[in-house]
């Protein structure tokens, strides 16, 4: 029994236990204990994070001439760590007041099912991460998809239901693309074992690789929600019930990136991918994928900018941030890949924290609609603080961790000489800054609404995981070396030169990054600012929000003196017309096409003279077969020939 066996077995048993015990009140505490223990088991494998040998499971299955096996390498370990940590925080988050309220509003069963969905998601992700060959990868992949579906389907609302169905259709399409690719891989290389496939890939020609890469990229890309498959994700994650959205938003879609790194970077190898020229463009396939990443940062980010609901805004950013990861990985040098992989960790921390803050706001106010919020900072200061820390991370501004990974990606693009991709990435970041300000402003700043005057801070059980995540966001921002160690190990595992790093960041001849210095100087600056502010000026008086400049107007609670609607009006005057819903129309066209074909087929099945139709078809077929031979009377000849015998 290896530690991996222990981990998988433990999680599986825990899933069973949670399924059985889901209606009991202690299930929330129980699940927290489960995730703690699972994390401990994972930490027992922490040698992986520092360049240790891969851990194999002793459990294998022989089926149809394939050996299914499971193993953990540094990359899986890294992703598994994120998964378990996020799950732990999520479980903590939902264990207390939030869970009680959810139980009250829905039912014990519903809460139990949420716990079940969480553990099943974790289990399926661990199975996916542990996969040791393409077939077990696919099994894990499908398990993850369906576990996610279960989580999404827990929300009984109509919108959520529709989103869940949409998700699963997309996921199925992706899975089918992967299945096609796996079948082709098997036939081309004669095996599905990673090592053998890797060797077999060397024998393939470029067009074969091109087909495989596109199929795998489509399959994994659908899960990540890359352009043009981004439509499903935001609604689905946003509508997942509170704590579920925390988990899903933070890590679920990243499984796509894991598989993509594993298959396209590690097994196929980016040099092979880069060797494929795409006809009629100046791009090779690697560049094309990088562009997909870049577009994925831009388009969803700007869709997020238009959202009027905090959950949707965050979920759309989730899609957009996936683009950075893909972009980083596709730069293919050690810095870029490090940025892409590290961004998974950073993203998971701040996205989880952000979803938690929004859930906390919903918990207290019952809404996440920007038009119905505002000014909550006085009521929920700690939640606000966590949100600020996280949005600084999301926007990629120092000293939070999101900056480091984005810096790596920018740096790699600079070194690689990719001006347009660089600009695209920056456009994405700028859009992010715009929309995170909208998020924090419309929720927490501005005028407090009358009905929210008695809103209280989020309960402690929700605050603890939020603050914990905020600390992680800051700490890994100041000391990115901690995460970069793991990232470097993962890079070795996927066959890329590890990034040269130290505790504070990157050592580079042509300009490195030392976050300890940056943070130090920034805090020195803040200290100077504070001294100037607090010791050089007089006493200030804290005043009521209605004591406000309104051109001489007398403000009362009857007048809503708050700006949240149509927040970036000026910008939208210009770019508003660019939101043409082209992808939605594309999707609709596809559905219409299917519908049209379906109608055609139905007409066939309904035709009232089936027998005549059949006869006609058969006659046609016969005529074809006969005439194909060039001699029409072959039937007659044949019959005569037969008789004469």
């Amino acid at each position: 029994m290896s530690v991996l066996d222990d981990l998988l077995l433990f999680t599986a048993l825990a899933s069973v236990a949670i399924i059985v015990l889901r209606r009991f009140a202690f299930i929330s505490k129980f699940s927290v204990v489960v995730y703690v223990l699972a994390t401990v088991l994972l930490i027992k494998m922490s040698a992986l994070g520092y360049g240790g040998e891969a851990v194999y499971s002793s459990f294998t299955v022989n089926v149809l001439g394939q050996v299914l096996q499971w193993r953990f390498d540094a990359l899986s370990w890294f992703f598994a760590l994120i998964t378990l940590v996020v799950a732990l925080f999520t479980a903590l988050f939902m264990s207390g007041a939030w869970g009680d309220k959810y139980r009250k509003e829905h039912s014990k069963e519903a809460y139990g099912l949420l716990q079940v969905a969480l553990i099943l998601n974790v289990l399926s992700m661990l199975v996916l991460l542990a996969s040791g060959d393409l077939l077990s990868l696919f099994i894990g992949w499908e398990l993850v998809s369906w576990a996610s579906f279960m989580m999404m389907a827990l929300n009984p609302d109509k919108v959520a239901r529709k989103a869940a169905i949409k998700y699963i259709v997309y996921a199925m399409a992706g899975a089918m693309a992967i299945l096609m690719a796996i079948a082709m891989t098997y036939n081309m290389t004669g095996s599905l074992d990673y090592v053998q496939v890797m060797q077999g890939m060397a024998q393939l020609n470029n067009s074969q690789i091109a087909v495989l890469v596109s199929l795998y990229a489509i399959g994994f890309g659908i899960k990540m929600g890359v352009i043009p498959f981004h439509l499903w994700q935001a609604t689905a994650y946003a509508e997942t019930p509170g704590a579920g959205a925390v988990f899903m938003g933070a890590i679920s879609a990243r499984m796509g990136l894991y598989a993509l790194i594993l298959v396209i970077v590690q097994i196929i190898g980016l040099t092979r991918v880069a060797a494929i020229e795409i006809p009629y463009t100046f791009l090779d396939m690697q560049n094309a994928l990088a562009w997909v990443g870049a577009l994925t940062t831009i388009i969803p980010t700007y869709i997020a900018l238009k959202q009027n609901d905090a959950r949707y805004l965050l979920a759309w950013h989730g899609v957009g941030q996936g683009g950075y990861m893909l972009l980083g990985v596709m730069i293919a040098d050690s810095i870029g890949t490090a940025g892409g992989i590290m961004h998974v960790f950073n993203y998971a921390t701040y996205q989880a924290a952000l979803f938690m803050t929004v859930t906390a706001v919903i918990y207290r106010t019952g809404t996440s609609n920007f038009s119905k919020l505002g000014g909550l900072v006085t009521q929920m200061p700690l939640t606000f603080m966590v949100m600020v820390v996280s949005i600084i991370g999301l926007a990629g501004i120092p000293p939070m961790n999101g900056f480091v990974s984005k810096w790596l990606i920018y740096r790699a693009l600079l070194l690689d000489g990719q001006p347009l991709l660089f600009v695209a990435a920056v456009i994405g970041t700028l859009g992010t800054i715009l929309s995170v300000y909208k998020l924090v402003h419309n929720t927490f700043l501005g005028q407090l609404r009358l009905e929210h005057q008695d809103v209280r801070e989020a309960p402690l059980s929700m605050l603890i995981p939020m603050l914990g995540l905020a600390i992680i966001i800051f700490a890994t921002g100041v000391m990115p070396g901690v995460v970069l160690d793991w990232v470097a190990a993962a890079q070795i595992a996927i066959g890329i030169a590890p990034v040269e790093h130290n505790l504070g960041g990157i050592e580079l001849v042509q300009g490195g990054l030392n976050m300890i210095w940056v943070t130090g100087v920034m805090f020195y600056g803040f200290a100077v600012g504070a001294i100037i502010f607090y010791f050089l000026g007089g006493k200030s008086k804290h005043i009521h929000q209605y004591d406000n400049y309104a051109g001489g107007h007398f403000l009362t609670s009857k007048v809503r003196y708050h700006y949240s609607n149509h927040f970036y009006a000026g910008l939208m005057h210009l770019i508003g017309g660019w939101y043409r819903n082209i992808f939605i129309k594309l999707e609709y066209a596809l559905v219409s096409l299917v519908s049209f074909m379906s109608q055609l087929s139905e007409n066939f099945y309904r035709s009232s003279q089936p027998a005549m139709l059949v006869a006609a078809i058969v006659m046609l077929a016969l005529w074809y077969i006969m005439s194909a031979d060039g001699s029409a009377p072959v039937l007659v000849q044949g019959l005569q020939g037969g008789m004469s015998k």
């Binding site: 006493k539 209605y546 004591d547 001489g552 403000l555």
Partner: protein, 233 residues
Amino acid sequence: MSKIGNIPVNAQNGKKRTNPLAGVFDELVQFCQSRSMFMLHYCTGCGAIELPPAMTSRFDMERLGIQPMVTPRQADILLITGYVSVKTLKRVILTYEQMQSPKYVIGICSCTVNGGMYWQSYATAKVLNEYLPVDVYIAGCMPRPEAVIEGLRRLMGNIENGKGIAWKDYFQRYDHYLGNQQHLFGNDWQTPTDIIGEARHYGLETEQTCGEHSRILEQHQQPLEPYKMRIKL
């Protein structure tokens, strides 16, 4: 240009200051205050037309460190340029109360001094300093830019000499001003600003700050305590 005598202001010049900077470099701060004045010109009447020439190239107020500002929060001087109708006065008072001390009021044109040609109007407030502590009046119908600048220089001199303390009067004798305001606007008069609270906060409260009029105010006043940032789980 006629000489205008001092307007009676009953402020006591308490030495207590909230600003540590001012405590140390009292003179310096007063000097700077006199040399840097941001004015909010409340263009109530015809006098406003004299301000553009005063600001632009012909007379160039910026030589004196005077420049226009937009909101009461940023401004030091409130220029009332013309007659003040009752309706306007409400806004003027709100604007004044939203300005940050030290703050100064300058009444321009005769209308602000005694109602001027609107003396007989039922809808005009006649004497501005019944409602606000006016630092300087600049009489005339209308006063020329030279007169305006002269008035401003007078104010600068006052500030530099530590005599520009009319703003304290408003805090210290708030009840008096409030009474006049209530007399004009009716007893349900209230601004969203909390002058009494401010007076207490900055230690400017005297026995005349509150009185019978502020008691009337308290009876119907909307609560003005700011939302405290609180961590109440």
